[in-house]
Symmetry: C2
DNA sequence: CTACTAACATACCCGCCGGTATGTACTATG
DNA sequence: CATAGTACATACCGGCGGGTATGTTAGTAG
């Protein structure tokens, strides 16, 4: 162990960040999300995550209390990214029906194309079955998404005369379908083809009462 | 360790089964399925499974080569049960449209009510993402289910004039939706209510071109 | 009766990983 | 400049669980 002898004279590596940039918790959560969604939660150790974030496990435990704690943080990270993505997508669309349509299109795109999203979602879902706290967190997120869609749909119904019977049931059905599409897309690549994607979007819209006419 | 002294005279426990009943592999697979679908694959050890089947781990490895091997067997067990269930449900229904309708109703019932089925499916799905062999096995099963539905739908279309545009896309969409319903039902109990269930069945049928009229 | 083998049980190994105890450098504050 | 607290790193522990090496018994064949 020669490092004891190094009298700590050579290059103390002048830290760029003032050491306490308070960014480390976020960085760890982001690393966790990245690794979880690539290899699965069970296949990623805390050492992996710490290394990916540029620190060690000992330091990890200064910011988080347990692996479960970190998983929750990774979920929060995911929720933030998700909401940001949707919001930026709808930022300058005013027509209510168009807002709803665009949301569906974006969501389908994510389901079919974004592997990281798919894997992470699946992993968390599975874990949440046996982890009540994660389940609550996930359900809270899920409910917020449901409310969001419900708001979009009701606004669209108020603006135009959609062929929707029960908006709540319609939203539940469409959300379920999208979740299922996300799942099956992992193993059935033919769902990701261009025409399949168009067909899916059309079906989802139809179930919300939107009949595609334009184009 | 007194058992060394027991001169093996008292009750050799006359085996009921002729020892080689060849039933042990199936028994182990069934035990695995039971425990996996109750606590999750990652939370069940081989000791647990062996104990549940009435043997020990050493004996387990005489029948299987690894845990992965057993997981595959548990899947096969699941596939068998699934097919038996559907077949027995359709055994004495001849009307093609009714056969399709009954299949949907049964599937929704399973999705919403059968917790073991839901958990096991979710677990295997998640694992299959990172395990190519499991993925292939699952996809094979999934394709067989798809073909089955496609057959039902085409038969129904030939018998009556359904409002179906593209049968393949319709089946894909409906299967995805059911998968998603199964997933969400784990965390959103309101999906399991009677009226929700009816609404889901109606939506699924509508997406296949069946308009509910009777009742 | 003997030998062989299928079908178990016992006992053990070992690597991985979550978690902890402890040391150390950098920074802020008075 | 001394002190204290922050934000790390090192080193270690312990158990859990997959997998193995080695019995031991009950059938079966000759």
């Amino acid at each position: 162990m020669y490092y004891v002898i190094m009298k700590r004279k050579s290059s103390p590596a002048p830290r760029k960040q003032p050491r306490s940039a308070t960014a480390m918790p976020d960085k760890l959560a982001a690393s966790a999300f990245a690794l979880f969604s690539a290899r699965g939660i069970g296949q990623v150790s805390l050492d992996d995550i710490a290394t990916h974030a540029g620190v060690t496990k000992g330091s990890f435990y200064w910011h988080y209390q347990s692996k479960d704690d970190l998983i929750k943080a990774a979920c929060a990270h995911y929720y933030r990214v998700y909401h940001r993505r949707i919001n930026s997508e709808l930022a300058h669309i005013t027509n209510p029906v168009e807002r709803l349509a665009r949301t569906i299109e974006t969501a389908v795109n994510i389901c079919l194309m974004d592997r990281a999203n798919r894997v992470f979602t699946t992993e968390v879902f599975t874990l949440a079955v046996h982890n009540p706290e994660l389940g609550r967190s996930w359900r809270q997120f899920s409910d917020s998404v449901r409310e969001f869609y419900l708001g979009l749909l009701k606004a669209a119904m108020a603006a135009e005369d959609l062929k929707t019977t029960d908006p709540e049931q319609a939203v539940d059905f469409v959300l379920s379908a999208m979740e299922g599409i996300k799942l099956r897309a992992q193993h059935e690549p033919h769902l990701c083809s261009k025409q399949s994607k168009r067909s899916i979007v059309t079906s989802l819209k139809r179930n919300l009462g939107i009949i595609e006419t334009e184009q």
